[in-house]
Amino acid sequence: MIVEFGHYALVLAFAMTLVQSVVPLWGALTKDERLMAVAAPVSVVMFLLVLMSFVVLTISYLNSDFSVLNVLENSHSAKPLLYKFTGVWGNHEGSMLLWVLILVFFGALVGAFGGNLPSDLKATTLAVQGWVSAGFILFLLATSNPFNRVVNPPLEGADLNPILQDIGLAIHPPLLYIGYVGFSITFSFAVAALILGRIDAAWARWVRPWTLLAWCFLTLGIAMGSYWAYYELGWGGWWFWDPVENASFMPWLAGTALLHSAIVMEKREALKVWTVLLAIFTFSLSLLGTFLVRSGVLTSVHAFATDPARGVFILTLLCLFVGGSLALYAWRAPMLKQGGIFAPISREGGLVLNNLFLTAATAAVFVGTLYPLALDVVTGEKISVGAPFFNLTFGPLMVPLLIAVPFGPVLSWKRGDLLAAAQRLYAAMGLALLLTLFTFWLWGMEKVLAPLGVGLAVWVMAGAVSEIVTRVKFFEIGPKRGFARLVGLPGSAWGTALAHFGVGVTVLGIVTASAFQEERIETMRPGDTVDLAGYQVTFDGAAPRRGPNFTEEVGHFTIRQGGVHVADLDPSKRVYTARQMPTTEAGIHTIGFSQLYLSMGEGRGDGAVDVRVYFKPLITLIWIGCVIMSLGALFSMADRRLRVGAPKPAAKRKTASLAAAE
């Protein structure tokens, strides 16, 4: 009964999206305040209805209600409680329901806290959000209904794919989806601006915090996924340029560009039209990602052709939204007023350069991801595009961008002085050079690119630090007043510095972990010892063990350094009972920022096993950098001047009330 209740709530939510799609927009176009006022309460009701159906699905999972097809196919009564809960979004239907839940949640946020928006902009934005919601709720109801029942329910379910029974993957999708779907709000704002034919100050003020929020979560989501792949898949890779990774990476790249162009728009009223286009692109790439992943087109073009219902539906939605918004853009954008002019060498110019490289990189990844599909469809020829291709095409685009990063924040608005900017960065340049030489000294000329990469990373990090230090004139005014000014810096300044610093940290991790990794592949008998990077790894033997829904063979290894015990590692090979599926659990020991990574392979009889041991120098910096970047986004969002729904500045309010008094 309760399941039908959830189903009904979802149908009702669909009806609400239809109201939302039409009524407020009609009101905005006919300047009818009463019709526009419908938008806010309906957005909240929509959210509550979808939330209700999501809760119902969650309850079915927690109760192991196998009369629901979705629960039957993806759950098991012996599954730990945590994974019963997270298993809700560990399958197609459930994860789409989560997608829709986040979509309507963002709509409700605008509805509830958008009080300081012009009423027509708010109404139109919510109407556009309503179209997207209508499309995806219909997709759920028509092709991916999570509430379908089974006539004669079996006693036991098929269990969740064991590889998803992991805390990392439990929180990865919600983070990723908040990022993906968060860009829907900027998209709706952009389309609303095009419909209304104007981009006012409120638009500019609203776009940046929303982009920051989405970007922050997308960054965390991608980093989480990468770390999960690293520790769960068993050979220590952390990025594979897989189409599905690219599907989340493209909105991230475009979103990063959007974030930067929104700064120009907000501060200088320039690049408005371009920002609108980027907002459309970013969400379009999110939709494309959803299509790629959900339609099965990636596995094979032919698999997609044989069971096309879902794929065609999302493809239609994709074409409608992307085509529609781009057509609207082509029609309306020329009418939008261009603002603020600037010299090529200026903060604006730097941000344009950033956009140029990020957009080109997005294009490279886009073509690399879709080209094999397109070629297969058009000519039937099959080619593969993998990591070596992307490293070669994407990498060179990032190098000039990274070199330019420290210059951006030290250039002044409108018209900058490159030489003066460079002077503020002398210390950073010196440090980068020093560390490049140090790395050369440490590793020799064997790997020429790696020390340069280290130098580049240090340059980005030191550039961010020196931006902050020179900004408060730390050395001119003495440390005491310097600290006071440091604390008083606006959140957005801290945000920029942190985010750029994080980029440097990630680059450093990528360079050192790829170039200086050490690896041993050995067959080890109990008692055998392997030497690696100054550590001795001894295999003590393996023993079977039982988990709640799996059995495993656990190996015991002792790590010593110069005879001194450092750590014990217990990597294992698991077999999940319900699906008879094997997984590996790597043994990882963190030393500073570096990690010792141990993974067990096949047994060779008489107690011997194949073992892979890696030493990955500074690898954790890859993900720490991502966390620092998202922290930067949070700082920037906390900036009083940009806060979502922040009250108008006191001065303005005062003049306004004075004017009213007169």
Binding site: P173, F240, R294, G368, S384, A387, T393, I521, P582, T655
Partner: protein
């Protein structure tokens, strides 16, 4: 057979993935220089029954066969490009993770640089047009404020000082 792919894939696509344990100790060549070349080549060759996975990363039996084959050719004295040519002649271009530069991959290889050049041209044209429209150097001072605007600015500035 199996394809350990990245995080999101499994969840989003619902694909089956099994952990990989690729190069096994018995495959490793004695000569470290040859082995290093073998690893380098393996990273660029696709495990044809996997999704987007190199033979260096895959534990599929076919990937193992290919790894052994690559090593055999290297031991026989083939150069890197000869090994690649041999594999392409046997398995087709699908085996290469980095497609060759040819007419049918032109768009693929040129996409990034082309986007960059197109962007540069677009920026250049926009700047020129805008400067022409403005009829002035881009950073020339704007026209002076009117008396009324000056007064309002002063009032606003004083107002801000009080906060």
């Amino acid at each position: 057979m199996f394809r350990p792919i990245a995080a999101s894939i499994i969840l989003l696509a619902g694909l089956f993935v099994a952990p990989g344990f690729a190069v096994t100790p018995d495959e490793v060549l004695k000569d470290p220089a040859l082995e290093a070349r073998a690893r380098e080549l393996s990273a660029e060759l696709r495990c044809m029954v996997c999704q987007n996975q190199s033979i260096d990363d895959s534990d599929a039996p076919l990937a193992k066969d290919l790894r052994v084959l690559v090593r055999e050719r290297l031991v026989a004295g083939d150069s890197n490009s000869e090994v690649i040519d041999y594999l392409v002649s046997r398995y087709g271009e699908f085996v290469l993770l980095k497609p060759r530069f040819a007419w049918h991959t032109m768009v693929l290889w040129a996409a990034g640089p082309l986007a960059l050049i197109a962007g540069l041209i677009a920026i250049f044209l926009t700047l020129r047009r805008r400067n022409a429209q403005a009829g002035q150097v881009p950073y020339a001072p704007q026209t002076k404020l009117s008396c009324d605007e000056e007064r309002r600015l002063k009032a606003l500035l004083e107002d801000t000082d009080k906060i």
